[in-house]
Amino acid sequence: MKVKYKKTKGLTDKPLSYCPGCTHGIAHKLVGETLEELDMLDDAIGIASVGCSVFAYQFFNCDMQQAPHGRACAEATGIKRVLPDNTVFTYQGDGDLASIGIAETIHAANRGENITVIFINNAIYGMTGGQMAPTTLIGQKTTTSQSGRDAKSQGYPIHISEMLSTIEGSAYIERVSLHDPKHVIKAKKAIKKAFTYQKEKRGFTLIEVLSSCPVNWGMKPIDALKWVEENMVEQYPLGVYKDKEANNG
């Protein structure tokens, strides 16, 4: 009997802790598959952040560290500098990366740290129960913006990929989405490209992954995916924001 599909070796057998319908599981799978396909599982060190992905250290089948809130890129820097030939990646949500950890992220990019960042943008704080994130859309209702995010007092959705693309040390920045199979395949390609660039020691790589959070958005999983497609993609256009090879030859 021919095996058509099997679970990636890039993930452990530990059942995922994510809510039903959440796209973290897909993102994990894509990263796990990439690590397996690029033969990186034996040299990779991943950094789990604080938020829903706090348990990522239980799921990726490689060495892992669990970082304080927002500090994953600093921790990754610490590791990569002493182990330059190992694969080092972080897996962070938008509260972790775009709010408390924005300084660590920008400076890791600016130093051109040769690491890969998987940035999950679901426009909300998931783990703590649905509070407003820096990525929350204008008018989006959360537990701390109950009448909808108001730009006047709560600022605007922050565009991480656009911002990091202006930084010299960034080698590859792409925003992808997980709202349908076609885009999942695109996301996989982007993630693989980022890890390949790291292998080639090109510098800082980040893939922003638009994700759904059905539980905290108060939606059914399918409606949540539709919301990503109809609202998030409009606010956060998909595409390659920086490709050092393409730009600079």
């Binding site: 452990t12 599982l41 034996d42 040299d43 990779a44 060190i45 950094i47 706090v54 348990f55 250290y57 089948n61 490689c62 060495d63 892992m64 560290q65 669990q66 970082a67 304080p68 500090r71 600093a74 921790e75 990754a76 820097t77 610490g78 590791i79 990569k80 500098r81 002493v82 182990l83 190992n86 300084a103 660590e104 400076h107 130093r111």
Partner: protein, 356 residues
């Protein structure tokens, strides 16, 4: 090499290299800047890692990463910078990773000033990070002793898989002394770092994780119990202090670091006046040398704790004394270093400085 004249901060840096440091991550702050400045040149020249981070917060988390990866790693900072590192220090202690943290104290609170002070005794020995944890804290009194402590600090950190802090003040950091880098230091029997997160290929068959998260209450309690066992072992084995003129003292001074240096002069002046004063000088502030207090002869009239703070080590002095002797406190702070004459005067007027 013989004796050379060297500034304290630079000596800290060179001693770290002699102690086998592989990586330094830090952020500028006075009065410790010569530590990263010296290392920025010499680490890179020797193929080691030096990174000037964007903040102390980032520095300590870079230290966390590299410590987890299994190398000898350090950072250096001063009071407000160490305050910013407390979160990371707690995580490193929780994940049981070894590293060395140099703290060159200045006046506080807040931005305070950049003069020498000892106002961070609590910060070092009680910790500003969350949770039940301890650092091994050394407080040398001279540049030579700082070198000796630094050279062995990495071994100690590796041995216990625990952060070690070397706590000095701006005076030790900024002054120059003739020092010898070749004095032998204690070597420990160290086991391989088979726990390091350096890629599975380096430890086939298992996945290594550096982590301080243990969600189940009983699981975390077990983890804390294991930490406690380690701290008890450290208390048993790593107490370090010096007894000075303690045969038959009229009074006993307790002081550490720069303050102990000044007290040595005061003790000489008091001797000329016919007053015998001894000194307990903790070299390790944690674990604290409680047992040294049992050796104070019962004929002693009192204990004088002297600090460049408003009285922080005083708590440990009172705990260790267990009510046996009268205790007095003399302190100057916020960057003022007491003259020996002030301490002579304080001993001569012991009652005036008595504390309850």
């Amino acid at each position: 090499m013989g004796k050379i004249l060297m500034k304290g901060n630079e000596a800290i840096a060179l001693a770290a290299i002699k102690g086998g440091v592989d990586a330094f991550y830090g952020y500028p702050i006075t009065p410790q800047n010569e530590v990263p400045e010296y290392l920025s040149k010499h680490m890179i020249e020797n193929g080691k890692v030096f990174v000037q981070a964007e903040s102390e917060v980032a520095s300590i988390n870079m230290v966390y990463g590299a410590a987890g990866a299994g190398v000898r790693v350090m950072t250096s900072s001063s009071s407000p910078g160490i305050a910013l590192m407390q979160e990371g220090i707690s995580y490193i202690a929780g994940a049981e990773l070894p590293c060395v943290i140099v703290s060159v104290m200045r006046g506080g609170p807040g931005l305070g000033n950049i003069q020498p002070a000892q106002g961070d005794y609590y910060q070092a020995t009680r910790g500003g990070g969350n949770g039940d944890y301890n650092l091994i804290v050394y407080a040398p009194e001279s540049i030579q002793e700082t070198i000796d402590v630094m050279k062995s600090a990495f071994d100690t950190a590796d041995y216990y898989r625990n952060p070690v802090m070397v706590l000095v003040d701006g005076l030790i950091g900024q002054m120059m002394e003739a020092v010898d880098f070749d004095r032998p230091v204690e070597k420990r029997d160290l086991s391989l770092k088979d726990w390091a997160t350096n890629g599975k290929k380096n430890h086939p068959g298992k996945r290594n994780i550096a982590n301080s998260l243990h969600l189940g209450a009983e699981i975390l309690e077990d983890h804390n119990k294991n930490l406690k066992k380690k701290y008890d072992r450290i208390k048993e084995n790593e107490v370090k202090y010096e007894m000075i003129n303690m045969d038959n003292p009229d009074y006993t001074i307790v002081a550490y670091g720069t303050m102990a240096r000044v007290c040595r002069s005061a003790i000489k002046q008091l001797k000329k006046k016919g007053i015998e004063v001894g000194m307990i000088r903790p070299i390790a502030l944690w674990p604290y040398p409680k047992k040294a207090f049992d050796e104070i002869p019962s004929t002693c009239k009192g204990i004088m704790c002297v600090e460049m703070s408003m009285g922080q080590m005083l708590d440990d002095v009172q705990i260790s004394n267990r009510g046996r002797f009268d205790v007095a406190f003399y302190g100057r702070y916020a960057g003022v270093v007491p003259e020996p004459e002030e301490i002579v005067d304080a001993i001569e007027n012991f009652e005036e400085w008595r504390v309850e």
